[in-house]
């Protein structure tokens, strides 16, 4: 059964990855300049430029170029940076750990807290419900990079609790690693946790009004079990869906957060690549992000299947 879900996800994910790579390719085709001009430099002769175009395969029709890229990508070869000629896959792999640390920690923390707070507020309502509402609005409306900057100002510059900049590898010092990712993760969590809580509560309130809930109560099931066992389990699908969406948002968020906190991850690389028109690097990052999204959805599906072992999952 598990195999089937993986297949289903992959069947959804592969076209998605194609779409990602095709979109970036079409963008390149629309681009006014080209990589050869950049690589050749300003004082290159026309002949140098032409031979570089030939060498980079830029004279091939677009589908052929795409095919070459695709074949390369299948073999883990994502081409070379047009800025410094480094191997794209290699430089992405070096930076992957930073980004993964951020998004995994942030997703787990906001998922756990959000689901907890959301279900308790569905059960008790009142004050907690209001806090969740306000928090969700704030999480939507406040620019996340601004939240990050304020955290830096308060916790790093004023109180000196955390470093404002930089990253330490987990393998070199777990404690310093934790301190270096604390503020970025906190920024990402603040931006999303209330949204998860709100969606959880809404899903739970839906479930609390459902006929099966009335039937549980009518059969004398204690309220605590009705809420935290039955309704929570039944709300798994929308809750996990929102955690998945939150993950996507967090991935986008790393672009800003890594820049603010000076972390050497994929996001900050994407920003510098954009500034330098380094298309192969951007394409590679888009592909990595796409793969991460597909993987996370797969994990969420498996979790869902464990919680809700019905035969057909729609």
């Amino acid at each position: 059964m598990t195999g089937k879900i993986i297949l289903k996800r992959v069947a959804f994910g592969i076209p998605l990855l194609f779409v990602v790579s095709i979109i970036t390719f079409v963008l390149v085709a629309l681009s006014p300049g080209d990589a050869a001009r950049v690589l050749a430099g300003p004082d290159a002769t026309q002949a140098d430029y032409e031979s570089l175009r030939q060498q980079l395969g830029l004279n091939d029709p677009l589908p052929v170029q795409y095919w070459h890229w695709l074949v390369g990508a299948m073999h883990g070869n994502l081409g070379h940076s047009i800025v410094n000629g480094s191997d794209v896959a290699q430089s992405l792999n070096e930076r992957l750990g930073v980004t993964l640390s951020l998004v995994i920690l942030a997703t787990i923390i906001s998922g756990v807290i959000g689901i907890l707070v959301g279900s308790v507020s569905a059960h008790r309502g009142g004050m907690l419900g209001k806090i969740v509402d306000v928090g969700a609005i704030a999480g939507f409306a406040l620019p996340h990079f601004w939240i990050g900057l304020i955290l830096v100002t308060l916790l790093a510059v004023q109180l000196r609790l955390f470093p404002a900049l930089g990253y330490v590898n987990l393998s070199s010092s777990p404690e310093l690693w934790l301190r270096s990712v604390s503020l970025p993760v906190l920024t990402l969590v603040i931006g999303g946790v209330a949204g998860i809580a709100k969606q959880t509560r809404d899903a739970m309130l839906n479930g609390l009004g459902a006929e099966y809930t009335v039937a549980h109560r009518a059969d004398g099931v204690p309220e605590r079990s009705v809420v935290y066992r039955h309704v929570l389990r039944n709300s798994a699908s929308p809750i996990l869906a929102v955690v998945g969406l939150h993950f996507v948002g967090t991935l986008s968020g790393t672009v800003l957060v890594e820049q603010i906190f000076g972390l050497p991850g994929l996001g900050s690389l994407a920003v510098s690549a954009t500034n330098q028109h380094d298309i192969p690097v951007i394409q590679g990052i888009a592909l990595y992000f796409g793969i991460l999204v597909v993987l996370v959805n797969l994990v969420l599906d498996l979790v869902y299947r464990r919680l809700n072992p019905k035969v057909d999952v729609s």
Partner: protein
């Protein structure tokens, strides 16, 4: 990323929000909301001020004041200055044009692409629908930022190109909302209601689609605008937008971030502006959504109906609650020592705008062991609400105002005491939708075994044996197999049998059956009724049956309680009711549905409809449909009177009208 806000289905809110009397239009509603007004005016002011920046800004965007660099707020510089001594307020105004216009571009693109595609999907359905659903899910699953970076890598510093791309990325989300609104309106219940009331015409549907769609689209667009501003300023912040010295909101935050060691104040006006504008958009969209929702709650035909029945409505004000029709039923209740289930003077109401509106008033009835009492009436008469109040599980928004229940010698206050009720062990319930009443994530076995263990304290293995026995008792031939199934794997009839087995797991004395056969196939209805009768004969179960089906009444009931507009209008034994009905309403029902009708025949053929609680007239509630109505009937509330034999009727002219009829 945008999380599309789902609108709760109409049915979820219906119970809690019956129509009020006045129905202002959308704009009127919006203007009546302070948040909408304040946020709307604020947004307008910001937009105008930014566009008019060359005229209204106190300084030009790059005028430097070296006498006041990195200064806090002052009279000369209301929001302070940056490290070059440039006025922050002026730069915010000049920068706003760029931020707002490029965000508006995304909104326009989303609208131009999303609206037609969504409408097409909604109308055409089928493959179109699936493709659009697939694309929008796919795009939702991708981090948009990386695409925008790719666009900016190709078109350096061209934020308009990036925001155009963003508009394309969010368009499928908008299309999805549009699609669901169009689909929803086409299928929605109130259109059916409008048809039934004879006012259903295409005009209604067109009006609903336009007003609903307009509302939903504008709500969605305010959200898109908010997200676009955040995305746009994020890209600016990263230095991917216009280059210095051109101000934008994002670059100003970025400048401020360079100065957090020296002048942290700068973060407040810069990032704060973005936050406040997006907040205002959110609040505006939110109150707009509320206004739209309220309008949906008020289908047009309601207004007409209300106008027709322009009478003052009996209502209670929240603080000084006054008993309605006090003494109405008092002293006339059948005080029955033999009854195992005795409901006394239950009043249920909802509260809206500080007014308590009853929906069920002073309803009393009792059930003896082995007896089946049918609570009978058209939809909307309050019979299901009465039943739910009697086991203490009213839907949200409805509350018991007062009422008592005497179960098996113990008294319960239905307003405050319901958690003590022996649910499942003394009083059990079966529902109209048996499949929906079974938890979709649990197997039949889990549900039954849990129930048996809870009520009988049995161990797991023993409980399983008992569960198998219960399934056998309700006529399921392969109980072993059924134990392993989920609700969606059962037919309606089978599911109702499972529900009955669950109801019997706690060996109750009373079974409340809320329209137990209504949702079932006609072919299995008789079997389910037969099963209830069988269990009753064996255990002396008292059954309270809610139904609007004469066939069911004739088949299984021994006593009848007829309800109309929240009140009991007649109660009698089934024989009495069929042979000598007293209330004109009962007679009307019987005339329209010949006695002993077949299961499945509903009480609908009577002309007119049950008035909604807000339309209840002061006198007899049946007067609008009663052929015998006189002025006296309209003058004052009609009491429920009992004769010596315990028959009750709520009609001042019943004797005369019976004579006329016979």
């Amino acid at each position: 990323m945008i999380q599309t806000e789902t609108v709760p289905p109409l049915s979820a809110r219906r119970a809690a929000a019956p129509p009020a009397l006045r129905r202002p239009g959308l704009l009127g509603r919006l203007l009546g909301k302070p948040t909408a007004l304040i946020s709307g005016i604020f947004l307008l002011a910001v937009a105008v001020a930014c566009v008019a920046a060359p005229w209204v800004a106190p300084y030009s965007s790059d005028a430097t004041d070296f006498s006041a660099t990195s200064a806090g707020p002052s009279a000369a510089h209301l929001l302070g200055t940056d490290n070059l001594g440039r006025d922050v307020l002026s730069r915010l105004l000049f920068g706003g044009v760029h931020t707002l216009s490029s965000s508006a571009l995304a909104v326009v693109v989303a609208l131009v692409l999303g609206l037609p595609v969504g409408m097409a999907a909604g109308y055409l359905g089928g493959a179109w629908d699936r493709v659009i659903g697939w694309i929008s899910d796919g795009i939702m699953a991708l981090p948009a930022t990386i695409f925008l970076l790719a666009v900016l890598a190709v078109f350096p510093h061209n934020l308009y190109a990036a925001m155009l791309a963003f508009g394309i990325l969010v368009a499928p989300g908008l299309a999805k909302v549009v699609r669901s609104v169009v689909l929803g309106v086409r299928q929605e219940q109130y259109i059916d209601v409008a048809k039934v009331s004879g006012i259903g015409d295409l005009g209604i549907m067109r009006r609903h689609i336009v007003s609903k769609l307009g509302g939903a689209v504008v709500v969605q667009l305010t959200l898109v605008m908010g997200v676009s501003i955040l995305v746009e300023s994020g890209l600016d912040f990263l230095g991917l937008g216009p280059q210095p010295p051109t101000p934008t909101w994002g670059t100003m935050v970025s400048d401020a971030s360079q100065a957090i060691h020296t002048q942290p104040w700068l973060l407040i006006p810069t990032g704060g502006t973005i936050a406040v504008v997006v907040l205002a958009l959110w609040f505006f969209g939110d109150s707009l959504r509320d206004a739209v929702m309220e309008r949906w709650m008020a289908p047009t035909h309601r207004r007409r109906a209300t106008a027709r029945l322009s009478r003052t409505t009996p209502q209670l004000t929240a603080p000084g609650r006054r008993r309605l029709h006090a003494g109405d039923a008092r002293g006339t209740v059948r005080r029955d020592a033999e009854a195992v289930f005795d409901v006394q003077e239950v009043t249920v109401a909802f509260e809206r705008d500080g007014v308590i509106q009853p929906v069920v008033e002073e309803v009393s009835f009792s059930v003896r062991p082995g007896e089946t009492v049918a609570l009978l009436g058209e939809s909307g008469c309050g019979k299901s609400v009465t039943a739910r109040a009697a086991f203490g599980l009213l839907p949200a928004g409805l509350d018991v105002q007062h009422g008592r229940l005497r179960y098996d010698g113990t008294d319960y206050d239905l307003q405050s005491d319901t958690s003590r009720l022996p649910r499942g062990s003394g009083i059990s319930v079966i529902f109209q939708e048996p499949v929906a009443a079974l938890d979709p994530t649990l197997t039949v076995g889990r549900i039954l075994v849990d129930s048996v263990r809870r009520h009988r304290g049995a161990g797991r293995a023993e409980a399983r044996e008992i569960a198998l026995g219960l399934l056998d008792d309700v006529g399921i031939h392969d109980p072993d197999q059924v134990l392993g199934r989920y609700a969606h794997e059962l037919s309606g009839g089978m599911a109702q049998r499972v529900c009955i087995a669950r109801a019997l797991a706690g060996q109750p004395k009373v079974l409340i059956a809320d329209e137990p056969t209504t949702a079932l196939d006609v072919t299995v209805q008789a079997g389910v009724l037969e099963l209830i009768r069988e269990r009753q004969a064996e255990t002396g179960l008292a059954v309270m049956l809610v139904t609007h089906d004469w066939g069911v009444v004739a088949d299984i009931a021994t006593q009848c309680v007829v309800m109309y507009a929240g009140q009991v209008v007649e109660s009698a034994t089934v024989e009495e009711l069929f042979t000598s009905p007293r209330h004109p309403y009962t007679r009307g029902l019987l005339a329209a549905n010949p006695a002993g009708g077949h299961p499945g025949e509903r009480l609908t053929a009577l002309p007119g409809r049950v008035p909604a609680p807000s339309e209840w007239p002061p006198g007899c509630r049946f007067q609008a449909r009663c052929p015998f109505a006189t002025e006296e009937c309209a003058a004052a509330a009609i009491p429920l009177e009992a004769d010596n034999g315990g028959r009750r009727v709520r009609c001042i002219r019943w004797k005369e009208t019976v004579d006329v009829a016979s």
